[in-house]
């Protein structure tokens, strides 16, 4: 195993309980944390706090294969459907339910990282894989899709609101879907 050195960081888990596979592709992964810290420092804004794990997590056991499983999706791209209220930029901890049958042309995005959405605004398939998931269901690779997928704002400054509002709401929403597996696509 080779971790990219330096700017992309190394895990704090030194017991070898967390695996990070060799990154063969070049260039070396972009160091987003460092990049954003220096940008915010330069502008005089307080630093953005990413979640930092204390150690390697447990691996939840998979009870049945994907082809027999009901799969859900959570996107943090600020996805909403035309007709729903868009996300706002000041610590929006709300979620949107997005039917897994939604027409791709009705998908929209509102996220504080606007410059990362330029292409998604034209082709939602770059961050919200609703069409590939439907194709995989039709092919029998996925057993079943959740009736509703979920989306939230991926840029929230208040970790309190994330922990006390967003995560419990997402957990309850996911529970209602009675899923076997969950795909997460962060922006």
């Amino acid at each position: 195993m080779m971790l990219p050195s330096g700017s992309a960081g190394t895990p704090r888990d030194s017991n070898g309980d967390y695996m990070a596979m060799a990154i063969e592709a070049r260039p070396e992964p972009v160091a987003y944390i460092e990049q954003t810290r220096s940008q915010y420092d330069g502008l005089g804004y307080p630093p953005y706090q990413w979640f930092e794990a204390e150690g390697a997590p447990a691996l939840a056991k998979i009870s049945r294969p994907l082809s027999e499983s009901k799969l859900g999706l959570i996107s943090t791209a600020g996805t909403y459907v035309a007709g729903q209220q868009a996300f706002y930029y000041k610590d929006d901890a709300s979620i949107r339910e997005i039917s897994s049958e939604t027409d791709v042309g009705d998908l929209r995005f509102a996220h504080i990282m606007e410059n990362y959405l330029v292409e998604a605004w034209q082709d939602p398939g770059v961050v919200f894989p609703i069409e590939p998931l439907r194709q995989l269901k039709r092919k029998g690779v996925i057993g079943e899709l959740a009736d509703d997928f979920f989306s939230c704002m991926g840029g929230i400054y208040s970790q309190r609101r994330v922990n006390e509002e967003l995560i419990p709401d997402l957990e309850a929403a996911v529970d209602r879907q009675q899923l076997d597996l969950l795909l997460l696509v962060p922006l």
Partner: protein, 115 residues
Amino acid sequence: MPTLILGSAFDILLAGMPPRAMFLNYPLGFETGKPFDRAHQFEVVEAALAEFESFEKPGIKALPYEWLAGWEMTRERARQGGADSRSPRDTTPRYQKEEDRLLFEEKLKGKTDGT
């Protein structure tokens, strides 16, 4: 519940140590593939999900795709102030299209009127 993350920010993934993560070494904003290439988007999602059951311990695996479109766009984004254009942080919904705002307000009005 078993989860799988498909993401493109390696350092942020590493900080969070998710149980199962597939890393796609593309610029942010293309976590599920290149724009206007449905076949490729399907391939990326299929390849990521194919690994769901393969994790014997928690960690991050890399998908074997290379961003050939050039990384100049990331430098260009940095020149423009980074990903974050620092639009005002307020509670005004940021509709992608003005017609979305009108559609939502129309629906809200319908609910309020009971129509």
